[in-house]
């Protein structure tokens, strides 16, 4: 028979074990993964479907920051206790973050098994972290302005488009920066031929400049510009809405606008962070997001519906047309480039 004293002692022992174990269990149950993510349609799908499913499966919560600017916030926070565990940006910002030691250089299949299934461009030497989606930067044009379908980047310089062509404020927009490099390739010796790029930029004046891609979409839709630099998803998302705007991939190739995920070295939840990236690379998640926002999935195994498959970069042959800028090279010269292009375009 168990005495009252023994029962109390046993109870106290169990309570002590419970108390010791509690923090770990509580931590596992309430871990909050801090990520950055986009807004708009992407953000809607993430909040409605993708993140709740992840939280349920991984028994955690996700704090998704959609409020720009991400980079200064990450820079300001402690490297040992960063504001974000997973850093989602375009490729140019990942390179800036790597320079400051704020993100990991590479994400491999060892940490994230689904990396084994991505196209080569997604983990190329031009990428810090891992690409989960890409868009093709090419030309958007109005079909009701009597223009012939552009086939080359050079078509943007057509004198008929004076004042009706659209570009970006290069210092603040990575599409504008990528386009500047493309001008170097088209009119000069390559993506790094800045002299040729500056000269070509002069020839594009007068040009309407915007700072966000969303603004370029609306300028094309409203007819304020007849032709402009834009990513394919910025045009394809109006598919079926009877808009007189189409996207074309110039024959010289399209620029790659990558959606990159990375993990901060000081993250206290690295395993969960890798789990999140692996989850985002799963074929079912990739298909859901790709078809919602017209992004080309990085995972080779994704099978999109015919409508999307026809237009997006879903085969080795199609992804071979992608040109990846060297953002490390560009970022190192960014201040000088900004000063020069501002001087060119302000007049």
């Amino acid at each position: 028979m168990i005495s009252r004293r023994k029962a109390l002692r046993a109870g106290a022992g169990l309570a002590a074990i419970g108390a010791l174990g509690a923090p770990a269990i509580a931590h596992a149950q309430t871990a909050t993964l801090k990520i950055t993510t986009w807004g708009g349609k992407w953000g809607d799908i993430m909040k409605a479907t993708v993140l709740p499913a992840f939280e349920k499966e991984f028994k955690c919560t996700v704090s998704a920051d959609q409020a720009f600017p991400f980079m200064p916030k990450l820079q300001t926070s402690s490297k040992t206790d960063p504001l974000y565990d997973v850093f989602h940006t375009n490729s140019n910002e990942q390179w800036s973050a790597l320079t400051e030691g704020l993100v990991m250089p590479k994400i491999t299949a060892k940490e994230v098994p689904n990396v084994a299934d991505v196209y080569a461009y997604a983990v190329s030497d031009k990428i810090v972290g891992v690409t989960i989606f890409t868009s093709a930067i090419g030309l958007g044009y109005r079909t009701d302005k009597g223009l012939t379908k552009p086939t080359s980047w050079k078509d943007l310089a057509d004198p008929k488009l004076a004042g009706a062509r659209g570009g970006y404020l290069i210092p603040v927009n990575s599409l504008g920066q990528a386009h500047l490099m493309m001008l170097g390739k088209i009119y000069g010796k390559g993506l790094t031929d800045l002299d040729a790029a500056y000269k070509a930029l002069e020839q594009l004046k007068p040009i309407k400049l915007v700072d966000f891609t969303g603004q370029m979409e609306k300028m094309l839709l409203s007819g304020e510009v007849s032709e402009g630099v834009i990513h394919d998803s910025g045009v394809y998302r109006y598919d079926g809405q009877n808009q007189a705007v189409e996207f074309t991939s110039p024959s010289e190739g399209v620029l790659s606008l990558e959606q990159v995920l990375n993990v901060t070295p000081g993250s206290k939840l690295k395993e969960l962070a890798f789990g999140y990236i692996d989850y985002m690379l799963r074929p079912d998640v990739q298909k859901l997001l790709a078809e919602a926002v017209w992004y080309s999935p990085a995972n080779r195994k994704v099978k999109l519906d015919a409508k999307y498959d026809e237009k997006l970069l879903t085969t080795e042959a199609k992804v071979a047309t992608l040109i990846q800028p060297d953002w490390k090279w560009y970022n190192e010269r960014k201040d000088d480039i900004d000063a020069r292009v501002t001087k060119i375009l302000k007049s």
Binding site: L83, L221, S222
Partner: protein, 271 residues
């Protein structure tokens, strides 16, 4: 004999004065009219001239939980800032005007300094400070940050009232036997009230429209309306932005009108 009509001679000065006033009014009101036109235009992009009249963007704005949560948070924060600014700013102005404090000019400049610093730097500095002391980014931290930039408005308007204040009225009340507390609540406060509340209106509007300070201090699912609008604009530049702007303008106008009804801001303007 027929009466000669009393013809006023052409007054070039008056015509120039009226023209200038009309131009100023046009300059101030034209953006609001343009925003209204965009808000009522049904096209999924901002275009001119409008193709019709529709409330679809207002429906989208009021139907979005993201916008509504941000709107209520902005209103709540601005309400708290209004109260705190009135209390802190009013008390500070009284102390500066009446306290015979050493280094009064320095203290006045110190209290006004948040207006001289670029707000984005204030936001970034506060963000860094909050992280350093390990409090994260709580809502009360956002309220304190907004209060910091709003208090100078209350101090400035209250000081202006106190500058024109006839202290003999207080002295008369005291001579007639009123206690210092009674003098404050029944004489001083009613007389400086227009200045304090005018500053409060500024504080409310400054907080409600505050973007640069909020940019670094909001948290996921706890974003104020200007921050949500900025992020929305990057991805979806449609009429919902214009509808949200109209709602913001009308809300700010409502606050001014309500306070004018309650406390008579005109009294302050006359001073």
């Amino acid at each position: 004999m027929s009466a000669v009509p009393n013809k006023q001679p052409f007054d070039a000065g008056r015509a120039a004065y009226l023209t200038l006033n009309f131009m100023l009014l046009f300059f101030l009101l034209a953006p609001i009219v343009i925003v209204l036109i965009f808000a009522l235009n049904p096209t999924p992009y901002i275009s001119f001239p409008p193709v019709g009249v529709s409330l679809r963007w207002f429906e989208k704005f009021f139907g979005s939980s993201e916008f509504m949560n941000a709107l209520w948070l902005s209103l709540w924060v601005a309400g708290c800032v209004l109260v705190l600014s009135i209390l802190i700013g009013g008390a500070s102005a009284l102390a500066l005007a009446r306290g015979n404090l050493p280094g009064r000019a320095f203290l006045t400049a110190f209290f006004m300094s948040p207006l001289m610093l670029p707000a984005i730097l204030t936001g970034l500095a506060l963000f860094q400070s909050y992280l350093l002391i390990g409090i994260g980014r709580p809502v009360w931290g956002l309220i304190m940050a907004h209060t910091l930039v709003a208090v100078p408005y209350v101090i400035r308007t209250t000081l202006a009232v106190l500058h024109n204040f006839d202290r003999r009225i207080e002295e008369a009340a005291a001579v007639l036997g009123a206690s210092p507390l009674r003098v404050f609540f029944e004489v001083t406060l009613p007389l400086i009230r227009p200045g304090v509340f005018a500053g409060g209106v500024f504080a409310f509007i400054v907080s409600f429209d505050q973007f640069p300070v909020s940019l670094f201090l909001v948290v996921p699912k706890g974003e104020t309306l200007p921050v949500v609008l900025f992020n929305y604009m990057k991805f979806d530049l449609d009429g919902a932005i214009a509808a949200a702007s109209m709602v913001s303008i009308l809300l700010a106008l409502s606050v001014v009108l309500v306070l004018e009804r309650l406390i008579g801001l005109k009294a302050y303007v006359k001073l």
